[in-house]
């Protein structure tokens, strides 16, 4: 019953959206009739609210297990825990399209309400842009992938349940964060479109969307890392990043968005790079649609998947439309986009940002090439040429390290032109300490690997430059105001949040690099053991104690939907007691006994000890397992946390809420 309502709401939303676009366009022709604009705004608010309500209905149907809806039957079952019934919303194609749409609609509502009395010239075009994006997804959902489609014949007694791999906290949070992180860019994109159409090409559109952009960027970052965390603990191959096309799809807009975050600073400060920033935000938005398309269409596994669904054609068409419209606008407005200020020196803040942009764009191209070439090659030659992690690592490690180096250099360069004297003053200490520490580490650890050494050196260098920035700023303030150390430190950060927040983000990035660098020192072993056996890997000693079996009958509370074979391992580190580890092999009874390895991980600050149970013969006790030592992994997660804090400082989140509550 409700599902019919949900369906009708989606159809009505489409009508309201179309009506809104027409009437707002009418308001722009002729004498800017305010009444037209007002009813257009109401139409968009209605279309978006309808989407929100229909999503609430789908969630209700999922939670109450109404299996007369195909979607509910496909992705949940009676046994599915309530939380995962809810996350069923984004478990499949139809639901995740609706989820995409509802987030976009929610943002649309926010943007309209936030800017009711602001930007009268920009807002009509902002609304039209966002409405067109909304229409695209509404068309897909109404005509191709309707989540409310009823089961055609017969009655479904129980649904299929959610894939056990997706039943994990990181998979509860990853898709919403990723979608927020993708869709949020539609807001700065819409403002960019409005700016270019109405010729308001100074930094207003950038400043007004600054919070959106930063918030979206940090959510996208967290989403990518959370996806890695999920892969690390759920997929059992011991890593968090594999250059899988689906991962790459989320990285692509992140790379251009990061470039954009940096280059807009030049436009805000010097009104330069107006064309370039326009291109970057257009590219970022296009890549978010492209990323959604890559992950949802299945095209990466085979080009044949492309023709199999109409969805692929629609997405492809929409992407082409965005690119064509953007290109035409850029060409028409090329004169207005020219900047009066010019670059003056290679050694300046501006140039630093530009080099940063060149690196990010290079990384984006390398990733897109490695991801898409297999598809092109299959289309052209009939068989795929693929590349794996080695290709990506060989390109991305050096480019990443260069970017890290710029993280240290850039902020210390002066605007316009940097003098030799200030170069010396700013860089001698960081360079010397980096070289010294790297040399000490290289000798004491007998380390001869180039990239890890370079990485360590750069991490020290960048840390030192950031530290000295904080120190110098604090000292100057103490001298000026006579405040104490902490007071002047905090007021200094508070007075220049975007700058110092940025530095804190950089600290997070350094910590993440520490984690990435640890990858070079991974150790692993394939073990085959009988109960009582003892084996070693590096300084760890593993004693295989026993094996046993648990089922819904023996453990109804913890194992309601699966049976498990478990082994107990007593692990010692450096001869001392370390941890009892119990990796499992599970079989999900509500999923045709789909097997699943539950890894055992013991995390410490400097390394993870990671065991995956391959299989265990319950009778003889013969067990195979993969054992890994993964150094520094925790620093990736910790770095992400610091990055989040830095972004929040930069956004000035407290002030935002203070203002809201007034």
């Amino acid at each position: 019953m409700f599902s019919v309502l949900g369906n009708a709401m989606l159809a009505m939303s489409l009508l309201f959206g179309a009506f809104g676009i027409i009437i707002v366009s009418l308001s722009l022709i002729g004498d800017n009739d305010y009444r037209f604009l007002k009813s257009g705004r109401m139409a968009f608010l209605s279309s978006s609210t309808l989407v929100v309500f229909s999503t609430i209905i789908l969630v209700y149907e999922l939670m109450t297990s109404n299996f007369s809806i195909i979607y509910v039957a496909k992705y949940t079952s009676i046994e599915t825990p309530l939380l995962y019934k809810f996350t069923g919303l984004w478990a499949g194609m139809e639901g995740s399209l609706l989820f995409w749409l509802v987030i976009q609609s929610f943002f649309f509502i926010l943007v309209i309400l936030q800017n009711r009395k602001k930007h009268p010239r920009l807002m009509p075009w902002v609304m039209i842009t966002m409405a067109v994006i909304q229409m695209f997804f509404l068309i897909l959902i109404n005509f191709y992938e309707n989540p409310f489609d009823p089961v055609q014949k017969g009655m479904v007694v129980n649904g299929q349940g959610l894939n056990p791999l997706l039943q994990h906290w990181a998979m509860v949070l990853h898709p919403p964060a990723l979608y927020l992180g993708f869709i949020g860019f539609s807001v700065p994109f819409a403002f960019a479109m409005a700016a270019i159409i109405t010729k308001n090409l100074d930094a207003v559109w950038i400043q007004t969307t600054r919070r959106w952009t930063l918030m979206t960027w940090v959510l996208l970052t967290i989403a990518i890392i959370m996806g890695g965390k999920w892969a690390y603990v759920e997929l059992g191959w011991g890593g968090y990043w594999a250059w899988d096309p689906v991962e790459n799809a989320s990285l692509l807009p992140w790379l251009t968005a990061t470039a954009y975050l940096h280059s807009v600073l030049i436009q805000e400060k010097k009104n330069m790079l107006r064309l370039w920033n326009m291109i970057l935000i257009m590219l970022t938005f296009t890549l978010t649609i492209f990323g959604t398309y890559l992950t949802r269409s299945g095209i990466v596994s085979s080009v044949h998947a492309f023709a199999a669904t109409d969805l692929g054609i629609w997405f492809f068409g929409f992407i082409i439309l965005i690119i064509v419209v953007n290109a035409v606008l850029l060409i028409i407005r090329r004169k207005e986009l020219e900047s009066k200020n010019k670059l003056e020196s290679f050694v300046s803040r501006e140039s630093g940002f530009l080099f940063n942009n060149m690196l990010f764009i290079s990384m984006m191209l390398a990733v897109i090439w490695g991801t898409m070439y297999p598809i092109f090659s299959e289309a052209v030659t009939g068989f795929k040429i693929t590349v794996g992690s080695p290709y990506f690592n060989r390109i991305m490690i050096p480019l990443g390290l260069l970017t890290l180096a710029l993280t240290g250099i850039g902020p210390l360069l002066a605007w316009r032109k940097t003098s030799i004297r200030s170069l010396k003053r700013n860089f001698i200490l960081p360079i010397v300490s980096a070289l010294l520490l790297t040399a000490i580490i290289a000798v004491s650890m007998d380390l001869k690997m180039v990239y890890p050494l370079v990485s360590i050196g750069l991490m020290v260098f960048v840390s030192m430059t950031i530290l000295s920035e904080f120190y110098r700023g604090m000292k100057a303030r103490m001298r000026m105001t006579g405040e104490g150390m902490f007071k002047s430190l905090f007021t200094m950060i508070d007075k220049n949040r975007s700058r110092y927040g940025g530095y804190i983000v950089h600290v997070g990035i350094i910590m993440m690099f520490a984690g990435f660098t640890g990858k070079a020192f991974d150790k692993e072993a394939d073990l085959s053991m009988m109960p009582g056996d003892i084996q070693t890997l590096s300084n760890y000693e593993i004693t295989y104690v026993k094996q046993w079996f648990e089922s819904p009958d023996s453990n109804p509370d913890t194992r309601s939907n699966h049976v498990a074979k478990i082994v107990k391992l007593d692990v010692k580190k450096n001869g001392k007691k370390f941890h009892i580890m119990e990796p499992e092999k599970r079989f999900y009874t509500d999923q045709n006994n789909q097997p699943h390895s539950e890894v055992a991980v013991k995390t410490t600050l400097n390394e993870d000890f990671y065991i995956v149970l391959g299989d265990v013969d319950l009778k003889t006790g013969l067990a195979t397992m993969k054992v890994r030592i993964n150094p520094m992994v925790t620093w990736v997660w910790l770095g992400t946390l610091v990055l989040l804090i830095g972004t929040l400082v930069s956004i000035n989140i407290e002030e935002f809420f203070r203002r809201k509550s007034k």
Binding site: V156, L165, G298, A305, F383, I385, L622
Partner: protein, 138 residues
């Protein structure tokens, strides 16, 4: 030459270098995804050392070593059969008779030594008709 032109030149040179570098690295790491039949008949025509193959595990062909760390099986695609070896404690969960698999590795004297064995990924939701109809009554 004005500074703007100089900078543009640097950007262009950088771009060309990066593009050349990307294509060189790509060439050196590329792994053709070919059919079992092509590998058996034309493996000496390929310059690459590593290949990626897809197919199904031939029924009843799975054999484990005593320590269960090495698995050998016959990869079947159309009518071609290829013996495959794979050594790892981590045999994918969905690996079994008839399973659709992708292997990556090197081909040596009639045997394919895989260092990567992937089964059709269950985490990708329902792409490519993975979806089976729920059990229905009536």
């Amino acid at each position: 030459m004005s500074f703007q032109k100089k900078f543009a030149l640097v950007v262009v040179v950088f771009g060309v270098l990066v593009a050349a570098w990307i294509s060189v690295e790509f060439k050196s790491e590329e792994v053709p995804f070919i059919s079992v039949n092509d590998l058996l008949e034309k493996h000496d025509q390929f310059t690459q050392a590593r290949f990626r193959l897809g197919g199904n595990v031939d029924d009843g062909s799975i054999l484990y070593s005593d320590d269960k760390l090495t698995v050998s099986f016959l990869l079947k695609q159309d009518e071609s059969l290829l013996p495959v070896n794979f050594t790892s404690a981590e045999i994918p969960d969905l690996f079994k008779d008839g399973a659709e698999v992708i292997v990556e590795g090197a081909y040596e004297e009639g045997v394919f030594h895989a260092d990567n064995l992937m089964t059709k990924c269950a985490s990708r939701y329902d792409e490519e008709g993975e979806y089976q109809t729920p059990e229905m009554e009536g």
